[in-house]
């Protein structure tokens, strides 16, 4: 068996959630690595869309920003940003939105705005960017995020982007008819929303991780499914491709002056 890090486990698990015929709106950072890994392994026809307007991009290295030149050079087409948000995202053309978060609650509501009070923040975060509408306009949303008590909280400080709201049918009460967060992939486990209550429940645990590890790193009361799978470990091919991707990326981003 190959050695891997928890982050690699998370990235590989996240990549496996994507299907070959998905059209995926890619958030920067962890989502970008997972989406490109999927494209380079089991989902070669996966369509990746970045909010900079690049449609069907196939970057050889991970972009540092959402608008690096590689994204455009390898895309099927590059459109203006208003068109991206109007025709493609709001127009309902995207099957999956892949997002990260600074703070998350058990209903998959996302905070990337502020820690503390909005008007007198303890930490001012970058803000919502594309996420508020990615979260509501994509067919479903996958979340990927390292699991910590600070990040996985009972109540987020600011609802930047809607998940399942207060649970149950609350999401629909905003006139939103998309599925919302359907999977949360962390470095410890995979969670999926309860079919009725919509709170996240642990459905798969990564090898070597205990239930206590998950509880210790979660700010809400963790629920476990009746039957819990063990997440399949990354295979050698996935790890090799992921590591090569990161190596190419590091080289490309340091190589300039």
């Amino acid at each position: 068996m190959v050695d891997y890090t928890p982050t690699e486990m998370m990235t590989v698990s996240a990549s496996r959630a994507l299907k070959n015929d998905d059209v995926c709106f890619v958030g920067i950072g962890m989502p970008s690595a997972a989406c490109n890994l999927a494209r380079l392994t089991h989902a070669p026809e996966l369509t990746l869309i970045y909010e900079s307007g690049t449609i069907g991009t196939k970057p050889d290295v991970l972009p540092l920003s959402i608008g690096d030149g590689e994204l455009c050079e390898t895309a099927v087409n590059t459109v203006p940003v208003p068109e991206m948000f109007r025709y493609w995202l709001q127009g309902g053309k995207i099957s999956v939105g892949f997002l990260g978060a600074a703070q998350l609650d058990k209903y998959g509501n996302i905070n990337t705005t502020v820690i503390g009070d909005y008007d007198n923040p303890k930490v001012r975060l970058p803000g919502g960017g594309g996420a508020p509408e990615i979260a509501t306009s994509c067919g479903e949303v996958f979340l990927v995020m390292k699991q910590t008590k600070r990040g996985f909280v009972e109540k987020i400080d600011f609802i930047t982007s809607l998940g399942h709201g207060t649970g149950g049918n609350d999401r629909a009460s905003y006139g939103v008819d998309t599925k919302g967060p359907s999977r949360l992939i962390t470095d410890l486990c995979i969670m999926e929303p309860h079919p009725v209550g919509k709170q996240f429940i642990v459905t798969s645990i990564h090898p070597g991780v205990t239930r206590e590890d998950i509880i210790a790193n979660t700010g809400w009361t963790v629920e476990f499914a009746d039957e819990i799978a063990q997440t399949p470990v990354p295979d050698a091919n996935e790890l090799q491709i992921l590591r090569d991707l990161h190596a190419r990326t590091a080289k490309a981003h340091e190589g300039q002056q």
Partner: protein, 284 residues
């Protein structure tokens, strides 16, 4: 009125004045860094700065004290982390307090579109279940008169001046954008005046495709040739994004003194002619 070719100094001094609402757009690509530096050099104050993705150049303008207010939807150094000058202005009021008006990308993209389209507001499916409408009075909701569906509305963006960078102008002053074109065309069409810095001025656009992303000369105020003027951002076909410098900025901007020293050396004692060398260094 047809676009005039000008020096960067004259373009900025004739178009932008204290207290103006200014949009310097560029979605990672084609960010008008040289023009931003000229605004700092001329000591223009009390600007309301608009931009979807304020990054390094707005960090510099804010840290240098040019801005009174920021209208934005994502304020960070992409892939690197926070904008320290922006963060300190908001959290600690240095160099002075910065008012903010915060939106989502979809809202701002629609608001630029509405500005270009001469509408007073943009209507879109946005902010559903999100909390920004609680803290931003410029987000309202209306009902579709046919279906009753609740739709978000934000005021159109109508800057006094828009500043963007493009690859080329021809000798008549028509402007060509290629690659990731962002909201630049909309931002120019939405503004009362515009300054376009370009990589080069060419004789004609005979080889440009019919449906290229362009602005005709009568839709533009001032054109300035500034080779490398987007660095450390990039110009597709000319030079690459200087990702290493974006990472280095994190260290430079973290500390007030190192920030001020950098501004002094590279902006106050620099000029648009410095950008050509940066373009050459990032050609690879």
């Amino acid at each position: 009125m047809v676009a005039r070719f000008m020096s960067l100094k004259d373009a900025v001094s004739s178009c932008i004045k204290d207290g103006d609402t200014v949009s310097m757009e560029g979605f990672t690509h084609l960010i008008p860094h040289a023009a931003g530096h000229e605004v700092i050099r001329q000591g223009i104050k009390d600007l309301t700065l608009i931009r979807m993705t304020p990054d390094m150049i707005y960090d510099q303008l804010i840290g240098a004290g040019c801005a009174k207010k920021l209208v934005f939807s994502w304020g960070g150094n992409p892939g690197v982390g926070s904008l320290h000058r922006l963060r300190e202005a908001i959290q600690d009021g240095w160099p002075h307090k910065l008012e903010i008006e915060e939106h989502s990308h979809a809202a701002m993209a629609n608001a630029y579109d509405a500005g270009a389209a001469g509408l007073p507001c943009a209507v879109f499916k946005g902010y559903r279940g999100a909390e920004l409408p609680r803290v931003n009075k410029n987000i309202k909701f209306i009902e579709c008169p046919f279906t009753g569906e609740r739709l978000a509305a934000v005021p159109a963006i109508r800057p006094d001046v828009t500043v963007v960078h493009a690859q080329k102008a021809n000798k008549k002053g028509d402007v060509l954008f290629e690659g990731i074109v962002g909201v630049q065309k909309e931002a120019v069409l939405a503004a009362k005046k515009s300054i376009i810095t370009v990589e080069e001025i060419v004789d004609n656009f005979d080889d440009v495709p019919y449906n290229a992303v362009m602005l005709p000369n009568w839709a533009v105020t001032a054109i300035v040739e500034v080779p490398g003027g987007a660095h450390p951002s990039y110009a597709q076909g000319y030079y690459k994004r200087d990702n290493a410098f974006y990472k280095a900025w994190d260290t430079i901007a973290k500390d007030r003194d190192s920030f001020s020293a950098w501004i002094n050396e590279h902006v106050m004692n620099g000029g648009p002619e410095d950008f050509a060398a940066k373009r050459d260094a990032n050609k690879g």
